[in-house]
C-alpha cells in the first residue's frame, strides 16, 4: 500500500498543473468561440473566478502529492501526540 501511495503521489503532483492548464484552455476556448447567445453566460469574469478559486486548491493537491511521494502518509497519526 505504501508503494501505491507514493506512485499516486506523483499522479497528484502532475494533476494539479494539468487541471489549471485545462481550465485556462477551456476558458480561452469558450470565451473566444462563444456566439452571441452563449457569450452572456460565458463571460471572462466567470471564468476568472473559477480559475482563481481552483489555483490554490490545485496547489494544495500538488503539496498533497509531494507529501504522499515522500511517504508522509505511510502511517497516519493515531493520537494527537503524533501530530
Amino acid at each position: 500500500m505504501s508503494g501505491l501511495k507514493k506512485i499516486l503521489g506523483l499522479l497528484w503532483i502532475a494533476l494539479g498543473p494539468v487541471i489549471i492548464l485545462f481550465l485556462f484552455i477551456q476558458a480561452a476556448d469558450k470565451i473566444a468561440a462563444a456566439t452571441e447567445g452563449i457569450a452572456r453566460t460565458n463571460t471572462t469574469l466567470q471564468w476568472a473566478i473559477i480559475i482563481l478559486i481552483f489555483i490554490p486548491i490545485c496547489t494544495g493537491l500538488v503539496i498533497f502529492g509531494y507529501y504522499a511521494w515522500k511517504g508522509e502518509y505511510d502511517h497516519l497519526p493515531e493520537s494527537s501526540e503524533e501530530l
Partner: protein, 511 residues
C-alpha cells in the same frame, strides 16, 4: 467550580438540541437564496438578461460558499482562542442579520446594479458566518459526546443542513401557496428572508443558556489554549498534511454528493426538465422526509464499523448512478416527444401582448395548456416579436415549454430517485463530523476541521449548481454534461480516500 459542575451535568440531549437548532436556522438562511434563485435573478438583474440572470444569481449564491473557508479560518481561530460558545453566538447574529437585510434590498428596477452588489455583500457575510458556525457546533457536540457514540450524536448536527433546506423549501412553498404566484414573484419572495430574524432571536436566547465545551474549559483552566491556532494548523506539517487528506479524501467528494443530490437535482428538474415550481420542490421535500433518518442510522453505524467505507461507498454509488438517474429525469419529462402519440386535449390559447424591454418592438406570447393521456400536463408558449422596422429581419418564433406536471407513476419514481440521492448524502455526510473531530487535537480542532469541511462543501459542493449549469450551456453539450463535474470530483475523492485514509475511530478526543 460551580460552572465546571454544571458543565458536566448539562445533558447531551440539551447540547444537541441547542446546537442543532441554531445550526438548522443558519442552514435555512443560507439555502433560501438558492431555492429562490430564479425569482431573485429576475429581481436583481435586467428583465432581458435571460439565462445569464440565473447563472449570475447562481454565481452570487456560489460566492457565499466560496467565502465559507475564510469564515472557517476567522471564526475557527476565535473558537480555539475564546471558546466555542461565544463564537457561534456571533456567527448566528451575523447570519440572521444579513438574511433579514437581503429581504429588504430593492430590486434592479429601483436601484439598478446596486441591487446585485448589495445582495452579493450580504451573501458574503452569510458565507463567512456559516463558515464559522458548523465547525463550532460539530466540535461542541463531539466534545460532549460519550466515547463510542460520537458518530451517533454528531449525526444529529448533520441532519440540520438537510432539515434547514427542508424548512426553506417548506416556507417558500407555503408562502407562495398563500400569496399566489404573482404576488410571490413581485414581493412575497422577501418573506422567507424576513422570517429569519424571528428564528434567530429564539436561537440566540437558547444558546445564551449553553455552557462552554468541557474539553475547551479544561484546556483553558490548564492554560493550554493555543496562542495561534492558524499557525499551528497550517504551518505545522503534521497538521497540514491531515488537513489536505481530509479535504481531498473526504470532504471534497462529500461536498459534491451533497449538492448534487439536494440542490442540483431540484435545479435540474425545474430548469432543465421544466417541471412546475411547486412540483419540483414537493419531490425534494418528500425525498428529504424519508431520507433524513438515515443520517442518524449511518452516523450510528459508523461508531461500529468505522467512518471511512460508509462515506466512500456513498461517493462511489454517486459516480455510478448519477447519469442513469438524470437520464430518467429527462426521459420522464420529455413532453414534446410524448405529445406526438399521447396528446389528449389542449386548452384555448391565451394571448398576452407586451413590449420587448428597452425596445419599441411588440411581444406576443400565445400559451396553451396541453394534457397527455398519461395524466401529464404542460404549458406551451409561442413567443413572437413584431418589429417596428419593416426592413429588419423577422425574428423566429420561439417555443417555450414550462410548468410540466408529472404522471402519478413518474412522480413516484422521481421521488424515489431523489430519495436515493439524499440517502447517498446521508452516507457521506452522516459520519463526517465525527471523522473530522477525531482527526485533529482539541487545541486546533475548530480551525483545522472547519477549513477542509468548508472548502469541500463550500467550494467543491457549492459550485455544483453554477459549474454544472455553465458546462451544460457550452456549445455541443447535452443536458447531462454538467454531471461530469460532480462525477469527476467524487471519483477523485473516492480514490484518494480509499488509498490514504484509515478506517479507525479515535476514542480519545480530549487530547
Amino acid at each position: 467550580m460551580r460552572s465546571t459542575e454544571s458543565n458536566v451535568t448539562q445533558s447531551i440531549t440539551q447540547v444537541i438540541a441547542a446546537s442543532s437548532l441554531g445550526t438548522l436556522i443558519e442552514w435555512y438562511d443560507f439555502y433560501i437564496f438558492g431555492s429562490l434563485a430564479v425569482i431573485i435573478g429576475q429581481q436583481l438583474f435586467p428583465s432581458d438578461a435571460g439565462a445569464s440572470a440565473l447563472i449570475n444569481t447562481l454565481a452570487i449564491f456560489a460566492a457565499g460558499f466560496i467565502v465559507r473557508p475564510f469564515g472557517a479560518l476567522v471564526f475557527g481561530r476565535l473558537g480555539d482562542l475564546i471558546g466555542r460558545k461565544y463564537t457561534f453566538l456571533l456567527t448566528l447574529v451575523l447570519m440572521g442579520g444579513s438574511t433579514f437585510l437581503i429581504g429588504l434590498i430593492p430590486s434592479y428596477s429601483s436601484i439598478g446594479y446596486a441591487a446585485p452588489v448589495l445582495v452579493l455583500i450580504l451573501r458574503l457575510v452569510q458565507g463567512l458566518a456559516l463558515g464559522g458556525e458548523y465547525g463550532g457546533a460539530a466540535t461542541y457536540v463531539a466534545e460532549h459526546a460519550p466515547v463510542g457514540r460520537r458518530g451517533f450524536f454528531t449525526s444529529w448536527i448533520q441532519t440540520t443542513a438537510t432539515l434547514g433546506l427542508f424548512l426553506s423549501l417548506g416556507v417558500i412553498v407555503l408562502t407562495k401557496n398563500i400569496l399566489g404566484a404573482k404576488n410571490f414573484a413581485d414581493w412575497g419572495w422577501r418573506i422567507p428572508f424576513l422570517v429569519s430574524i424571528l428564528l434567530v432571536v429564539v436561537s440566540i436566547y437558547i444558546r445564551m443558556k449553553m455552557h462552554e465545551s468541557p474539553v475547551f474549559s479544561k484546556l483553558k483552566a490548564e492554560g493550554k489554549v493555543s496562542a495561534n491556532p492558524l499557525k499551528e494548523s497550517f504551518q505545522k506539517k503534521a497538521n497540514f498534511k491531515m488537513v489536505l487528506v481530509a479535504l481531498f479524501g473526504a470532504t471534497m467528494g462529500q461536498g459534491v454528493v451533497w449538492y448534487t443530490g439536494q440542490f442540483y437535482a431540484q435545479s435540474f428538474l425545474e430548469n432543465t426538465c421544466k417541471l412546475d415550481f411547486n412540483e419540483s420542490r414537493y419531490i425534494l421535500l418528500w425525498a428529504i422526509v424519508f431520507a433524513t433518518p438515515f443520517f442518524v442510522i449511518f452516523g450510528s453505524w459508523s461508531d461500529k464499523v468505522g467512518r471511512k467505507w460508509i462515506m466512500l461507498v456513498g461517493m462511489l454509488l454517486g459516480v455510478i448512478c448519477y447519469r442513469p438517474i438524470y437520464q430518467y429525469f429527462l426521459d420522464a419529462t420529455n413532453v414534446k416527444e410524448m405529445e406526438k402519440t399521447m396528446l389528449l386535449s389542449q386548452s384555448e390559447p391565451v394571448v398576452e401582448r407586451g413590449l420587448v424591454p428597452d425596445k419599441a418592438d411588440s411581444l406576443i406570447t400565445t400559451t396553451v395548456t396541453k394534457t397527455l393521456t398519461n395524466g401529464m400536463t404542460f404549458k406551451e408558449s409561442k413567443v413572437e416579436v413584431i418589429t417596428e422596422d419593416v426592413l429588419a429581419e423577422v425574428p423566429a418564433v420561439e417555443t417555450v415549454i414550462k410548468d410540466v406536471t408529472l404522471s402519478q407513476s413518474s412522480y413516484v419514481v422521481i421521488i424515489l430517485l431523489v430519495f436515493f440521492q439524499v440517502v447517498l448524502v446521508t452516507m457521506v455526510y452522516g459520519p463526517i463530523a465525527a471523522f473530522l473531530v477525531e482527526l485533529f487535537p482539541t487545541q486546533i480542532r475548530y480551525t483545522s476541521m472547519s477549513l477542509p469541511y468548508h472548502i469541500g462543501n463550500g467550494v467543491f459542493g457549492g459550485l455544483v449548481p453554477f459549474i454544472a449549469t455553465l458546462i451544460a450551456s457550452f456549445q455541443g453539450s447535452t443536458p447531462l454534461s454538467g454531471l461530469w463535474y460532480p462525477i469527476g470530483i467524487a471519483a477523485l475523492s473516492f480514490i484518494i480516500g480509499a488509498v490514504y485514509i484509515d478506517n479507525r475511530r479515535d476514542e480519545n478526543v480530549m487530547d
